[in-house]
Symmetry: none
Subunit: 206 residues, 4 copies
């Protein structure tokens, strides 16, 4: 019933709803699991009608995709920006690791979706890993590592792709364990511990 609100909200109104659904879905998926979550639950949590969900997303599956895409896009974007200012490949990798765990540690629901719900089907996994943001993320780590190899910082004989997967796997396991643990501890500090070992392992002899 307000009157003057329109100017700045016409478009945002649309996004508001889309984002509300995305936020609601993240929460619902995290709490109940993707397969046990009903579209109606998401709609209720987002404060919209069931049918409205389908004005913004083609299907329940697309919602899951969108959660992943939106989070990854932002993470990669923010990550690239942060890395620009850094030169040392070692420092860059340290920063990546910290950002990785910071983001997941900051939003437990999102973390659950990333670490658990997204993993439950080869279909999802293939779509997400073969191409797209995940490959881009892994590529970023790899490129940074190769940069270090060229600079003589990292051992040249190592397979950069494998190294990237290894680092990712280590961080990924930290996140997954954190989510599943009953004990509540800080996730971020583990980044440095992991990087200590990792960098020690891949660095060239002086």
């Amino acid at each position: 019933m307000g009157t003057a609100r329109s100017l700045s909200t016409v478009r945002p109104v649309v996004n508001d709803k889309r984002e509300a659904i995305l936020r609601a879905a993240t929460q619902v998926f995290a709490r109940n699991g993707y397969f046990n979550s009903k579209v109606a639950d998401i709609a209720r949590a987002a404060g919209v009608a069931d049918g409205t969900v389908y004005l913004y997303f083609k299907s329940k599956e697309e919602i899951l995709h969108s959660i992943f895409d939106a989070a990854m896009e932002e993470a990669i974007h923010a990550g690239r920006k942060e890395l620009e200012a850094i030169d040392d490949p070692r420092e860059k990798l340290r920063r990546i690791a910290r950002l990785h765990l910071e983001r997941l540690g900051a939003d437990r629901d999102l973390a659950v979706v990333f670490q658990v719900e997204l993993r439950g089907s080869t279909k999802f996994m293939e779509e997400f890993s073969a191409a797209g943001f995940f490959a881009e993320y892994l590529g970023m780590i790899r490129a940074t590592f190769e940069e270090g190899q060229r600079a003589g910082i990292f051992r040249r004989e190592l397979n950069a792709k494998l190294v990237a997967k290894m680092l990712f796997g280590a961080l990924d396991e930290m996140a997954t364990n954190w989510i599943l643990s009953r004990r509540r501890y800080k996730l971020v500090p583990m980044a440095d511990e992991v990087m200590d070992i990792f960098l020690n392992g891949v660095s060239a002899a002086i």
Copy 2:
């Protein structure tokens, strides 16, 4: 009436069917995903009637559990045996890594179930990780590492639990990537590459 007949047939008759269902389920779950797999599919693949499945398993979910349990039990059992003969903690860890990837690399369907289907719900994940075989596996890695720490081989300041998770995560990622990759390559050799970096990273200075 005979004597020599019982040993090799009486029990196996029962197990044959149970194992056939387990084998069939592994295949079906790997191909279609747990949630998309119908019990009827499993029964057909195992060559039994739908109802027969329920003579051996309480529910579809129990089948998944049993696949995990059976594979883990055997893996841990075989693993412990192999490790007995080895003294050097480094060598022990190398052997663990190789066994890890060998087992998964030898049965792609089982690997898919382990790397993907088992991961898709916090419920499963919690059941499998909090206690049970997974914790035991992680504990085995950790104990070996601590052995090395006590022997002065590995850096004493490192958190053994984190180290264990890190190694597991690295190997786990190798396996997952291998499954999802379109390219068919050998999984086992990656164990040595990972261990090279890992051991380099955790070893104490000489």
Copy 3:
């Protein structure tokens, strides 16, 4: 937004479907029996989709309950109204008996549900008799009888509760026999024959 439209349409639209399902279920239950009736049969007979049934009823069992409740509520309501105008307890009981058989005689399907389908489980029976409409119905007969006792019309030494059950049982058996009989005869006239004997049996000597 006219005014006069709402009264006769807005609510009925909802009720139409609910009542169609109830009517269809009565028919289906009467023809096939409760346990042999499929929800799909009811849906088809009501001209709705299977799922629609569950928008109006929580379960198949609730449909049966609702048939009973709706019919009993209306019967008791109509009954009380008719009885208000009558003073003589004998006449009241005669009217009750006639109404009882009139209602059942007017809708054979409903009668089958009442006389047969509702009787097949202690669970149902207990729910329906212990409290609720049935107890209320029996109480109505009993109260009327006690009224006659106080008025000196009925024998004071008789146990009113037992008398009420006896009359109900007699009428109930007329209805059940009528339903099961291959011969088609009028049910209502039996009310007077029963009441002749009954009143003769319970009336005080003049």
Copy 4:
């Protein structure tokens, strides 16, 4: 292994098992309801294997039939014997009523099967009432009543068939209420109370 036991048991052994199943089924049906009772439950309660049940009965339904038939046959047989010694039709009917409630009151499980489980389907009801023991039972009451009419004891203008149904209905309701009641009271004494009213209602003026 025994040797000398055979003479008197060869046949009884057969009947023992058949009767054990019948007894077990009565109990199981009474506790769980016919439709919720599994043949396996009956077998276990009878101490035989599932398949054995089918050596004595063609189907689950036949078991229910047999319970009814066996109990009715014995009741009618015993009833006829008792009535032989009585002359007065009033006394005969009193005896019938008492026997009716005595039998049901003596075996609650059997009573539940008779009053509830047997009533839940038109199919059962039709089979049991149209012909068979139930018709015979009703016919026995009716014949006794007609005997009294001829003797001038009972009112000649009454419809004997209706009178028989009425008496049966009254007794039947006593039994059903007794079963469903939480309060535990004696069923048999109600026979005399019912008969008091009934006989008063149908007797010819002196």
